[in-house]
């Protein structure tokens, strides 16, 4: 270690050399001064590279949107964050698609059927779908892409979502190269065999994971295949340019099998500073922009801008997760005392200035209830709270233990928990300490079965719209993301039953029943649902978020 310290010292010294050099007091230094200035003087003549693009001149209708971070990759097999998923979804069209009401609709697949046992899914593909290079899209292109995602050298992060398909794990481990459960029966028939009945499988086919990729392009260009000039796509837009630091430009695909989009193109600008993005919008340089939290109130009161405001509640919720397997929160009456002390509307108003939705249920109401939850967690009631506290064995708060409320160190979330704990203190006189944590520390604490966990903010968001993706990982016994350490045979039984059902209404009813158990047992207390708040110029129509978290741009129109 000492050697390292010395090396580091050397490094430091290198940085300081300029300052420690002796300063001569006389001499012909005029030369050195002008010498230092020369490169600077030359700068104005080095012309900046020509403008990548001035926004749609003339009659072209180009939708200019922004995202706060750059796109890392356009390869559907390896994308992980929204800033890459957004352009990938504009470029690639998967088997199925979601309509404006979040119902699965045909896309590349014109129809599908599932076997009686729920294990075999067969998709019939359209025969008129073409890649951007003119090649027809066939079932084999889907098979190739799914295999490629499972190959270890592809380094896909989302491959675990495919593990419900038989044989995926064998390919992931390198034992074989082809997923046994994916087969092209002929050019236009694709068949999947699953490891267990999974009604949620259909929802997965509407994601970029189930988009076709051209084997020819990948094999010809290797890891450079997903770049302008090389990329081959089948979606509503075609990649025109991608300047990794500044923007992506796309043109409408005139041959898109779903019909040419009504706009001529998209320009996705990378604008890291939300304030700068808002100024760009107000200056007419963007057509859509996220509203920074700090500007929410001002914009709500602005005569012009308030008319351009939109909100999309997202499938992302935050709630109080008690560790119900350990004292003190194995005590249901104590959990109820807390439930009666929390005013969720106040929380949303005070901690978020109204930028989020006050939750009524733990699961987002737009997931399966069309935005109208069938019941609500109890409204705040100080008298009931006190009464429950006494029932729990702590009359007037005597003997309450000291507990720590764990929360990710995101400022808005910490603010929210401070608001919640102050509400609990006002109602019950119980002082709960707030413990802001790094993502890594929080990941370790919240893990299922960790005995150090007492009470934390539960967080979850959906990648595709299916309630199984919500209730399964969060509330099945021993599931990694079952933060509350719930082990409830009733819930486990219902989850298993729902998985095998193919009737959506029946399935949704079962998930509603699970939510009812969550309330009856007071396993959790809902807090808030995240929402996207954004401004859209009045000449832009049909700009809407898909239910998960990203806007779908293929139906946008502009005046």
């Amino acid at each position: 270690m000492r050697q390292i310290a010395r090396l580091c010292g050397l490094l430091l010294a290198a940085g300081l050399v300029g300052c420690t050099a002796p300063a001569p007091s006389a001499g012909q230094t005029g030369a050195s001064a002008s010498g230092a200035a020369t490169p600077a003087a030359a700068a104005p003549t080095t012309n900046p590279k020509p403008a990548a693009a001035a926004a749609g001149g003339g009659q072209r209708k180009v939708l200019r949107v922004m995202q706060p971070s750059q796109t890392d990759t356009l390869d559907p097999a390896v994308v992980i964050n929204p800033w890459s998923i957004q352009p990938v979804e504009d470029l690639f069209e998967p088997l199925t698609t979601l309509d404006a009401n979040n119902i699965i609709q045909p896309s590349v697949a014109k129809s599908w059927a599932v076997s009686q046992d729920g294990l075999t899914w067969t998709f019939n593909l359209r025969s008129d779908v073409k890649f951007s290079n003119g090649d027809p899209v066939t079932a084999r292109d889907f098979v190739y892409e799914l295999n490629r995602q499972a190959w270890p050298e592809t380094k896909s992060s989302y491959v675990f979502e495919l593990e419900v398909i038989q044989g995926t794990k064998e390919v992931e481990s390198g034992a074989t190269r082809e997923i046994s459960g994916v087969k092209a029966l002929d050019d236009y028939t694709l068949q999947f065999t699953l490891t267990e009945p999974a009604a949620y499988f259909l929802a997965m086919t509407a994601t970029f994971t189930f988009a076709p990729v051209s084997q020819k392009a990948v094999e010809q260009f290797g890891d450079q295949w997903a770049t302008p000039g090389n990329i081959v796509t089948n979606g509503a837009f075609l990649l025109k340019s991608w300047d990794r630091g500044t923007q992506i430009q796309m043109d409408a695909n005139p041959n898109f099998f779903g019909g040419k989009p009504q706009i001529d193109g998209i320009e996705i600008n990378f604008v890291p500073d939300p304030q700068t993005a808002l100024l760009k919008y107000e200056n007419g340089e963007l057509d859509v922009v996220d509203i920074p939290d700090a500007d929410f109130q001002r914009i709500s009161q602005d005569a012009t801008l308030s008319k351009q405001m939109h909100r999309s509640p997202l499938l992302q919720a935050r709630w109080i997760a008690f560790n119900v397997s350990k004292p003190p929160f194995d005590n249901q009456a104590l959990r109820e005392a807390i439930a009666y002390s929390v005013d969720r509307q106040k929380l949303s108003d005070l901690a978020f200035s109204g930028t989020v939705e006050a939750a009524c249920t733990e699961a987002p109401p737009n997931m399966i209830w069309g935005g109208k939850p069938p019941f609500c967690w109890p409204a705040p009631d100080a008298a009931r709270a006190k009464q429950k506290l006494a029932e729990a064995g702590y009359p007037n708060g005597q003997g309450l233990p000291s507990v720590q409320f764990g929360v990710r160190n995101i400022p808005s979330n910490v603010r929210a928990v401070e608001n919640v704990t102050s509400q609990i203190k006002a109602a019950l006189g119980w002082e709960i300490a707030v413990n802001p944590m790094t993502p890594q520390a929080m990941n370790a604490l919240r893990k299922n079965g960790n005995p150090d966990k007492q009470i934390i903010v539960g967080t979850w968001g959906l990648d595709y719209n299916d309630p199984q993706e919500w209730f399964g990982p969060l509330y099945g016994s021993k599931q990694a993301f079952n933060y509350s350490d719930i082990s409830d045979p009733d819930i486990d039984g219902l989850l298993k039953k729902a998985q095998g059902l193919n009737d959506q209404q029946q399935r949704y009813q079962i998930y509603t029943d699970i939510e009812q158990i969550m309330l009856n047992k007071m396993y959790v207390v809902p807090l808030w649902q995240e929402a996207a708040n954004y401004l859209v110029k009045p000449n832009v129509h049909n700009f809407a978020y898909s239910v998960a978290y990203l806007p779908s741009l293929k139906n946008v129109a502009m005046d």
């Binding site: 300029g18 001569p24 001499g27 050195s32 001064a33 230092a36 270890p152 380094k155 491959v159 600008n269």
Partner: protein
Amino acid sequence: VVQRIARRVLLLVPVLLGASVCTFLLMHAAPGTPFDGDKITPEVRANLLRQYGFDRPYPEQYVRYLGSLLRGDLGMSVKMTGEPVARIIGQRFPVSLQLGLVAALIMVAVGIPLGVLGALRQNSWVDHAALSLALLGYSLPIFVLGLLLLLWLSSGLHLLPVGGWGQPSQFIMPAFALGIGPASMIARLTRASMLEVIHQDFVRTAHAKGLPGHLVVTRHAVRNALIPVVTVIGAQVGWLVTGSFIVEYMFSIPGLGQMFVLSAENLDYPLIMGLALFYVTIVAITNIAVDAAYVLANPRLRVG
């Protein structure tokens, strides 16, 4: 002289080695891995670590890295799939360099005249005005200055586009925001140095032998007063051309500064290493260049 510079250049090798060890240790001391998504399963994470070789013992990883570095290979970015680190630097550095050089020009063109003027009219209203301006420029944080510029010039007067990169008009605000702080520092330094020089004997001699005032100032006083200033300018240029995160963030400029922060946030190991080594090299080269200029300019330093 050549020998002296050659020795300094050779010293770069241990400096870079030291920097690489420090960076390597620090980035691996940071908790987590590059693959810590909310939902990622342990098996998938283990496979990713294995594919990139991040599961090997640290000494082995380091030696492997050094080996490919000697072959001139900085590796591939983990997050920006298919992008070699060298290409990322090759694309981002010219942006920061252009912006930094314009800011350096502002620093010199504003700072030195302001300082000289202040010293020559010491304690007059000119001096006070110059000093106050310098103080304001020096104490105004970049993010305040940048936001004010955006509000006035873009939002208010609609003169300039709000950030972005590519057109000359997009240079103006960020270069000004970046250069005005260093310019204020140079102004104060030049003034102090000038005040010292104009009270020295050789300046009095120059006046006594009847040289016109403006010649005394330009030929004798300013030249000598700038010696310490040049050192600082050199160090500042090194800092300016490697990119400022705040300016690049505020004005949406695709430079190195943003990459630094992004690579650390993502724990993109190869990118962190490549950027750190590149940064050290640039700063060291700037310093060597300043020292070389010194030696050339000052005969007394050429001996020993």
